[in-house]
């Protein structure tokens, strides 16, 4: 709610100055990321436009990569605004996918039942993550780093013990194919899931009380607690949300590839954090946006696929990633400083 909104029937307060639209835009955390999207798109359009970057299949391929990362990045941005990290989502993706595959292939559960069981499983992991962080007051970085190893190990060990393999394929996904992996033209359904989650997250963050609680928990947790914000419940809820996002991505991948493997999702947690930081969210919490995470994921997708379309060895992707991360953070802090100075 804008500071200058007035209750009906009252005169506007002349002590408050209405900020112009441009100034308000400059202050938004996602401005740097939006600029980044444009710049990256232009760069690849120039060097790879005739090689297919601008064509339908090129655009569809980077949107697909961006959407899968974005499904994780948006909830992670909410969690980071609240001041916490979740390094275990990659392992949750692997664990959930494998859980569905095992229940369906090995124990012959119907697919929908297996999916619901995996969702419940991932929510439980998220709850445990949040509970440990909140009760022990340990840094969430450490707690979720431990979860990362524990749940990846559980996935590998249990799968090998039950099936002797590390990958289960040939799952019959025909009943849910359209919902999770359908296509309009070349464009994948995961794009719609991504945008839907982004819209929901932005609405929660900017238009509801829970959103204020999230900002408060990240910006000044003790002060927020003192005025009655249920900081612990907010954080646990956010950990459950990121875990659920991991499960959703696992379901989408399982349906797309009709298979699950124990290593799926490795390193996605770092990619998600990078997308969120590129999008303008501070590592220290209290400031950021879900829309920024959308832009960050989009930049990721464009770079990852753009490099291959250009013909560059995909190994150089990581060099680009690091370079872009620094560039993005520098641009973000520069714009933020300029916007703060320009307020006068």
């Amino acid at each position: 709610m804008a500071v200058t909104d007035v209750a009906p029937g009252m005169r506007a307060d002349e002590r408050m100055r209405r900020a112009g639209l441009l100034r308000r835009l400059l202050n938004r955390p996602e401005l740097g990321a939006a600029g980044g999207v444009v710049i990256v798109w232009v760069i690849f359009a120039v060097i790879a436009g005739d090689r297919g970057f601008l064509g339908t299949s090129g655009t569809a391929s980077y949107l697909e990569v961006a959407s899968e990362l974005g499904i994780l990045a948006v909830p992670v941005s909410l969690l980071m605004i609240a001041g916490e990290f979740d390094l275990s989502i990659g392992s949750i993706v692997g664990a959930s996918g494998m859980a569905i595959a095992l229940l369906d292939v090995q124990y012959h559960w119907p697919l929908w039942a297996a999916i619901l069981a995996a969702v419940a499983f991932s929510l439980l992991i998220g709850f445990l993550n949040g509970l440990v962080v909140v009760k022990t007051r340990l840094p969430s970085f450490i707690v979720t780093l431990a979860s990362l190893f524990i749940f990846r190990g559980v996935t590998i060990a249990v799968t090998r013990r039950i099936t002797g393999r590390t990958e289960l394929g040939g799952i019959d996904i025909s009943s849910v194919r359209v919902l999770f992996a359908g296509h309009v033209d070349a464009y994948s359904a995961s794009i719609l899931w991504w945008l839907g989650i982004a819209v929901l997250a932005t609405w929660v963050l900017l238009r509801t009380r829970v959103g204020n609680w999230i900002f408060g928990s990240g910006g000044a947790a003790e002060a927020a607690r003192n005025i009655g914000v249920p900081v612990n419940r907010v954080k646990i809820g956010l950990f459950m949300t990121t875990a659920f996002a991991g499960c959703l991505l696992a379901i989408i991948d399982l349906v797309k590839f009709a298979s699950a493997d124990v290593l799926r999702g490795t390193q996605l947690e770092f990619q998600a954090i990078i997308a969120v930081v590129i999008g303008g969210t501070l590592l220290t919490g209290g400031y950021g946006s879900a829309v920024g995470a959308v832009f960050g994921a989009l930049i990721f997708g464009m770079v990852q696929q753009g490099i291959v379309i250009t013909g560059v060895d995909a190994d150089w992707f990581q060099v680009f990633l690091g370079g872009m991360l620094i560039l993005a953070v520098l641009v973000n802090s520069y714009i933020r400083r300029k916007a703060a100075e320009a307020r006068r």
Partner: protein, 332 residues
């Protein structure tokens, strides 16, 4: 504030230069320029599942690079960092989006890669598969397969080991889930069973040789009647050799493997290993580039819709010396 301001622009410029340099530098290196034949403007994309740490695949890449030089085609080679079908399908999608004149892929998992390969075929790109997928390539619309049929190669290996007297063997699989490797063990098992013996499959992690050696040692200790160990690649063979040597069982347990490496060839030459099955993967890199160039120019494609076999070729003590020489050059 002044000190930070002074550092800001240099930092920006360094970051920008890093990004641009990575882009420029690598694009020059990875697209093969031909000092051999004149450039024909034909573009071919190669996407394999071969991890960089596996010495097997660097021979394939050498074949690809040499064929690019000899035919004048421009070839790009992509592979994911780990055995990751999601990443590989994305590489295929991106390669397809760049509209190449031909696509070469390996198919270690037809379920996961099928959709991407079908998209390539639907886009009118001629596709040749290599190395893995000899039993599925036809159903995906792929023109031909250049490789070794795994089941038959495993059968051949098992026959030789059975003839050497092996009756209780361990089949060491370093990438369980790779359908081609599973078939090798199946073929091997069938031959040994036919000779009246039995086979146990041991799964190991190709990226961790120390752990692999430990697992093999434990398996041998657990069952003292094992008289043969059959590995499916150099990343399984080297630890197996080391494990058998350490346990001093090389005279009692016969060791043989799929695919070559300097260690394997030396061991065969020294008489420590019975044989190695060479699938001549240099051909798997070289031939598809030639085929796709000719297809683009004249519409020619060999194979008749069937696989073109590059193996099995058996390397034994008799021919090891010559093969060792070529292996050092990265050709075998």
């Amino acid at each position: 504030m002044p000190a930070r301001k002074r550092l800001f622009w240099p930092a920006m410029i360094i970051a920008l230069v890093m990004v641009v340099a990575a882009g420029c530098g690598s694009s020059k290196k990875s697209t093969s320029s031909s000092s051999g034949a004149k450039k024909t403007g034909i573009r071919i994309a190669v996407v394999t599942h071969g991890q960089a740490s596996d010495p097997f695949w660097s021979v394939v890449k050498n074949g690809v690079d040499q064929a690019a030089k000899d035919t004048g085609a421009t070839v790009t080679y992509q592979a994911p960092g780990t055995f990751d079908m999601v990443a590989m399908s994305r590489l295929i999608d991106a390669a397809v989006a760049s509209k190449p004149d031909g696509l070469v892929v390996s198919i270690p998992d037809a379920n996961a890669l099928g959709p991407s390969i079908k998209k390539a075929v639907a886009a009118g790109i001629p596709v040749v598969s290599i190395n893995s997928g000899s039993d599925v390539f036809q159903s995906l619309g792929v023109l031909t397969h250049v490789g070794q049929t795994e089941f038959e190669a495993g059968l051949g290996g098992g026959e030789r080991m059975g003839a050497a007297g092996v009756r209780n063997a361990l089949c060491v699989n370093q990438e369980v889930g790779n359908a081609a490797l599973d078939l090798r063990c199946k073929g091997f098992t069938q031959s040994i069973q036919k000779a009246g013996g039995k086979v146990k499959v041991l799964s190991v992690n190709l990226a961790n040789p120390t752990d692999t050696k430990q697992r093999i040692t434990n398996a041998i200790r657990a069952d003292s009647s094992i008289d043969g160990v059959f590995t499916l690649g150099p990343t399984g063979a080297s630890p197996a050799l080391s494990a058998l040597q350490a346990a001093n069982l090389l005279s009692k347990i016969k060791l043989a493997t799929f695919d070559l490496s300097p260690d394997v060839l030396q061991a065969i030459s020294d008489g420590k290993m019975l044989f190695a099955i060479d699938q001549q993967q240099y051909l798997q890199g070289y031939l598809p580039i030639v085929f796709l160039s000719l297809y683009k120019q004249f519409g020619l494609m060999p194979g008749g819709g069937n696989a073109i076999l590059t193996g099995p070729a058996f390397v034994t003590k008799d021919n090891a010396a010559q093969v060792i020489d070529l292996s050092k050059k990265g050709i075998r």
